[in-house]
């Protein structure tokens, strides 16, 4: 029988995705993947010997000190920023356009007044929901969320954040659409884009702040571009996915009617990709929001600035208030875009559209005459009571707790019994044995290519002369990841087996994932004192939701038939988990581990702000103290560490993981 099925003929030039590189990948894996016991044996022999031989540290001869060169380059940039043609004719325009557009949107929002913005947002949400009864939910959420920002006394800050958000989301969506179109329509573009996107996804956003600051200085342009870079990948990915997922039967029918490729794109591909495009928009907005605080480090004002200041002054109440406002904005935008997606492209009637326009117009008129400031009288101060609660907690838990000792004691013990030994152990190992270890782990988990990337990335760290600092950071990451995975798998298994647990956890995790990473730092700093323990705890808390979620999903996707068989054979609950669910869910668990690593790294770096030290601290120092050379190298080190850790935990043939914000 011929392989060409007549119902779905193979069309020239169209191949199933992944078809081309599949054989090659299979071949390399079959050739070089060693057996697990062999690798373990080799490691068991090697590591003790290496530790005995001692030495440690990256050899001086293999280092290249780039700091002076980078510093002088930074000086050159600072000196020539006003005069050099590249700046004058390109970057300056970019910078001015960014500043102007954000300022313009901010002025617009201010001119519309709080009442105007409120009505316009509500009307828009109602329209997105179909301008009928089903639009009522999103509309109410929009109204409540924005009014909430006002009640919290953060209207002005919210407006600033919103202005930056709107501009960066528009830019990210437009660029993402264009790149996504390229990736969706051209295989070559897709081949180029995919690894870039994969890499961008694992980079801690902190890493690319410095180059931007170097070029644009602290201010709106840096904040805008950082946000755009961070928020764009999901738009590109979803656009590509939507275009490539178009039903081939429809495209063929369109072709058979004599459509041009442009007509096909416009009438079939794009409309059919609408759900994915809206999901991309949704994710882009969420990603942009999660950058609000980090952007404030390089000069964005608004809510992020409030959180950042609160972190500096350890004012938990203020920090959480501003964080809450960010969550409210996130909820509003999420529900509005989700409603537009759920509508499924059913057009809104003419009457609904008219009503929306009239309402928005009326609101804007009323708002602009009423003025831009939210009335002082209608605000609630929740910062003070929150601080009282935290103070009470700290006062009672920090130290001198009978028997248990208190959090500061725990932190001290944890540092001296876990963190320090691990760090010292890592430092004591010779550098080459660590490279070997990394290669072995990457080979066991993933592919040959992943292993070489990991080794290369680690070597870069050594060459850059920040080996010791990177190990210091690495020890924190390892502890935090272990903590996260232990907790995450335990909770994940529980949630997969007990429905109530999952239902209770879901809303909590949703909120936790939208809160800026910084929020977690404030209370733990107060409980554990500034230092590594605080950074690790914050990181574990931050990464936990994603790990639990992926674990639960993985366990629940295990075929019910296999479970039923094991039950019918009389397996105990533990046997079911160990023999059926665990092995079958292994790929999902590896993805969970990978996500945990990426997320933990992002926060541990931020932990540099509160005494996590090492690489994160250097980046912050580079930003705040103007030591750009040191900061840039630390940033590069973070990138390398991120790449290496990602490859060490990336299962072979893993599909692009869904980003952590969703």
């Amino acid at each position: 029988m011929s392989t060409v099925t007549t119902s779905r003929p193979i069309v020239d030039g169209e191949r199933p995705p992944g078809h081309t590189d599949a054989p090659g990948r299979r071949r390399t894996r079959r050739l070089v993947r060693p057996s697990t016991p062999m690798v373990l044996l080799a490691l068991a022999l090697l590591l003790p010997t290496a530790a005995l031989l001692g030495g440690g540290g990256w050899p001086q001869a293999l280092r290249v000190d780039l700091v002076p060169a980078l510093d002088s380059f930074a000086d050159w940039v600072v000196d020539n920023r006003e005069t050099h043609p590249v700046f004058l004719y390109f970057l300056l325009h970019l910078s001015n356009a960014a500043t102007d557009s954000v300022a313009w949107v901010h002025d617009l929002l201010t001119a519309a007044g709080w009442a105007g913005v409120l009505t316009a947002a509500t009307a828009l949400a109602w329209y997105a929901g179909g301008a009928g009864r089903r639009g009522a939910g999103p509309a109410l959420i929009a109204l409540g969320s924005l009014a909430g920002c006002g009640f919290l006394g953060l209207w002005e800050q919210a407006t600033e954040t919103l202005a930056l958000m709107l501009v960066s989301v528009v830019v990210a969506v437009v660029l993402g659409l264009l790149l996504g179109l390229a990736g969706g329509l051209s295989d070559t573009a897709q081949r180029i884009l995919r690894p870039v996107l994969d890499t961008m996804q694992v980079l801690p956003s902190f890493a690319y702040l410095l180059p931007l600051v170097l070029i644009f200085g602290i201010g709106t342009p840096s904040a805008l571009i950082t946000t755009v870079i961070y928020a764009m990948p999901p738009m590109v990915r979803m656009t590509t996915l939507g275009l490539r997922g178009a039903d081939p039967a429809v495209l063929e029918a369109s072709r058979s009617l004599g459509s041009t490729s442009w007509q096909r794109l416009w009438t079939a591909r794009l409309p059919m990709a609408r759900p994915q495009l809206l999901l991309g928009l949704n994710q882009t907005i969420m990603m942009a929001l999660s950058m609000v605080v980090i952007a404030s480090v390089v000069g964005a004002g608004g809510l992020g600035e409030s959180v950042y200041q609160a972190l500096k002054t350890r004012d938990f109440g203020q920090g959480l208030t501003a964080g809450l406002a960010i969550v409210l904005i996130a909820v509003w935008l999420d529900r509005t875009t989700a409603a537009a997606g759920a509508r499924g492209g059913v057009p809104v009637g003419r009457r609904g559209t008219g009503l929306v326009l009239v309402a928005a117009g009326g609101g804007l008129l009323a708002g602009s005459s009423a003025g831009g400031e939210w009335p002082e009288a209608v605000t609630v101060d929740i910062a003070a009571p929150l601080n009282t609660v935290v103070d009470w907690l700290v006062g009672n838990l920090y130290q001198d707790v009978p028997v248990l000792g208190g959090t500061s004691v725990w932190a001290g013990n944890f540092t001296s019994w876990v963190l320090n030994p691990l760090n010292n152990g890592l430092q004591a190992l010779p550098w080459w044995s660590l490279l070997l270890l990394a290669a072995a782990v990457a080979l066991l988990v993933g592919t040959w290519r992943g292993a070489s990337t990991a080794v290369l990335a680690l070597s870069c760290i050594g060459v850059l002369g920040i080996w010791d600092k990177a190990l210091y950071t690495l020890s924190q990451v390892l502890v935090a990841v272990a903590l996260t995975l232990l907790l995450g798998f335990a909770i994940g298994i529980l949630a997969a087996r007990v429905r109530t647990v999952e239902r209770l956890l879901r809303p909590v995790f949703d909120a936790m994932q939208t809160l800026p990473q910084f929020i977690y730092l404030i209370p733990v700093v107060q409980l554990f004192n500034a230092g590594r323990v605080a950074a690790i705890t914050a990181a574990a808390v931050y990464a936990l939701p994603a790990v639990v979620r992926v674990t639960t999903q993985g366990l629940k996707q295990v075929s019910p038939a296999a479970l039923e068989v094991s039950r019918s054979l009389g397996a105990t609950t533990w046997q079911q988990i160990r023999d059926v669910q665990w092995p079958l869910a292994r790929p999902a668990l590896l993805v969970a581990a990978n996500q945990g690593v990426v997320l933990v790294l992002a926060v541990v770096v931020i932990g540099g702000l509160v005494g996590g030290g090492a690489l994160g601290f250097d980046v912050v120092k580079g930003l705040t103290a103007g030591e750009l050379g040191t900061g840039l190298i630390a940033g590069a080190g973070i990138v390398c560490l991120g790449l290496a850790l990602d490859k060490l935990t990336q299962p072979a043939g893993r599909p692009a993981l869904t980003h952590h914000s969703h």
Binding site: S2, S256, S259
Partner: protein, 407 residues
């Protein structure tokens, strides 16, 4: 050839998938091999293999074969949705393979429209806008294309459902939308790619009758792809039977059933209820005695089934008349011989004189045939095309892939 009479004219058409596919049709060492051997030797899959035929104006041309026989690839080659590897292809005498993209789009927009197995409807559009889609692509203004779409929707029996979306329709209704979309462009030819395979049997019969009715009313040329023999026999004026990319037999339903070209075709048509296909004229003999004055009068192209009914009812042979002239009679022995698929010399006719006439059933198989009609027999289905189709196609003999053109 008679270019004005045939809509599509296909000569030596090849479609080969795979690396360096173009070398296969031109290489006599390769073309001598079977499809499986070619795949083994070159890695190429031959989907359509040296196919030649003509689609005559106004006929329903059915391409039939099992899945993998290349029939869907073949129909896509006709409008170059799949680019043929080699051969000649003309529509209304114009070389299709020489057309530039614009001219080809013109062909697809106005001259040939296709109905697909999986409908291919735009999920985000209403029925009305789906039907108007082809006109939109042609650049027809909104008001006009909607008005025309409404007419076509009424014609296919979907009036009142204009504002529904495809996912609110049943499979049969969705395919009616697909049919309406193809009709809206008022094309010269309708191409059907297994349009009813995805539908359940009752709906399928409705749709087949719908197509038969449309063909009767409009006389539009149709090329119909199917893997269902009953459907092919019911709708087709002529049937091309495909196997491994080549046409193994091309002929009228009657020829396919009564004179299979090879064992493959014979196997294929084994269970066909031949009394539904074969006309009574095949069982005719001269009248003897008073037979010319008695019995029901039948037309020559009435089916054997109708003859059986008439003879069973009257108890005497039925008369065959054309334009009031008596051509002969059929009796129960001869009708049964057709049903049984017996060769003339096997039949033990009551009257040996009459049995030696030229009207014996030609080409009948020697071995006995299961006289039970196949389970797919559809005794009541009207044979809508019978009225428009002259049963004049001469026997093309065997191996029609070498000389498929019946002049």
């Amino acid at each position: 050839m008679d270019g004005h009479d045939s809509v599509f004219s296909v000569r030596g058409l090849w479609k080969v998938f795979g690396p360096k596919a173009a070398r296969v049709p031109g290489d006599p060492r390769l073309t001598a091999l079977t499809t499986a051997e070619i795949r083994e030797r070159t890695g190429c899959t031959v989907a359509v293999r040296d196919v030649s035929f003509d689609v005559r104006r106004g006929e329903v041309f059915v391409v039939m074969g099992l899945s993998g026989s290349g029939k869907s690839t073949l129909v896509r080659c006709l409008t170059r949705l799949i680019e043929p590897t080699a051969g000649e292809l003309a529509m209304d005498g114009e070389d299709v393979l020489a057309m530039d993209p614009a001219r080809l789009r013109e062909l697809r927009r106005h001259r040939a429209a296709m109905v697909f197995q999986h409908f291919g409807l735009l999920p985000h559009r209403t029925v009305l806008d789906n039907v108007a889609y082809g006109l939109e692509i042609q650049g027809v203004a909104k008001g006009e294309r909607r008005a025309r779409a409404r007419e076509v929707i009424a014609k296919v029996g979907l009036a009142g459902l204009e504002d529904r979306r495809p996912n609110q329709l049943s499979g049969g209704q969705q395919q009616r939308v697909g049919l309406a979309r193809a009709l809206a462009a008022d094309p010269e030819v309708l191409l059907f790619d297994e349009p009813f395979s995805a539908l359940d049997p009752l709906i399928r019969r409705d749709m087949q009758e719908e197509v038969a009715r449309l063909h009767q009313e409009e006389g539009r040329t149709m090329v119909f792809i199917t893997h269902d023999l009953a459907e092919a026999l019911k709708l087709g004026d002529r049937i091309a039977l495909m196997r491994d990319g080549a046409i193994v037999q091309l002929g009228t339903p009657e020829e396919i059933v009564t004179r299979p070209a090879d064992d493959y075709v014979r196997d294929f048509v084994r269970d066909v209820p031949r009394e539904q296909i074969v006309p009574v004229s095949r069982a005719m003999r001269p009248a003897i005695g008073d037979e010319a004055d008695r019995g029901t009068v039948l037309a020559p192209d009435a089916t054997v089934a109708e003859g059986v009914a008439a003879v069973a009812r009257d108890g005497v042979p039925a008369r065959i008349e054309a334009d009031g002239v008596l051509l002969g009679v059929v009796d129960h022995t001869r009708l049964l011989a057709v049903v049984a698929g017996l060769a003339p010399d096997e039949a033990n006719y009551a009257d040996p004189d009459a049995g030696t006439g030229a009207l014996a059933i030609p080409g009948m198989r020697e071995d006995g045939v299961d006289t039970d009609a196949g389970p797919g027999a559809d005794a009541d289905a009207p044979k809508g095309k019978a009225a428009t189709t002259p049963m004049d196609a001469p026997a093309t003999g065997q191996g029609t892939d070498t000389d498929p053109v019946t002049a």
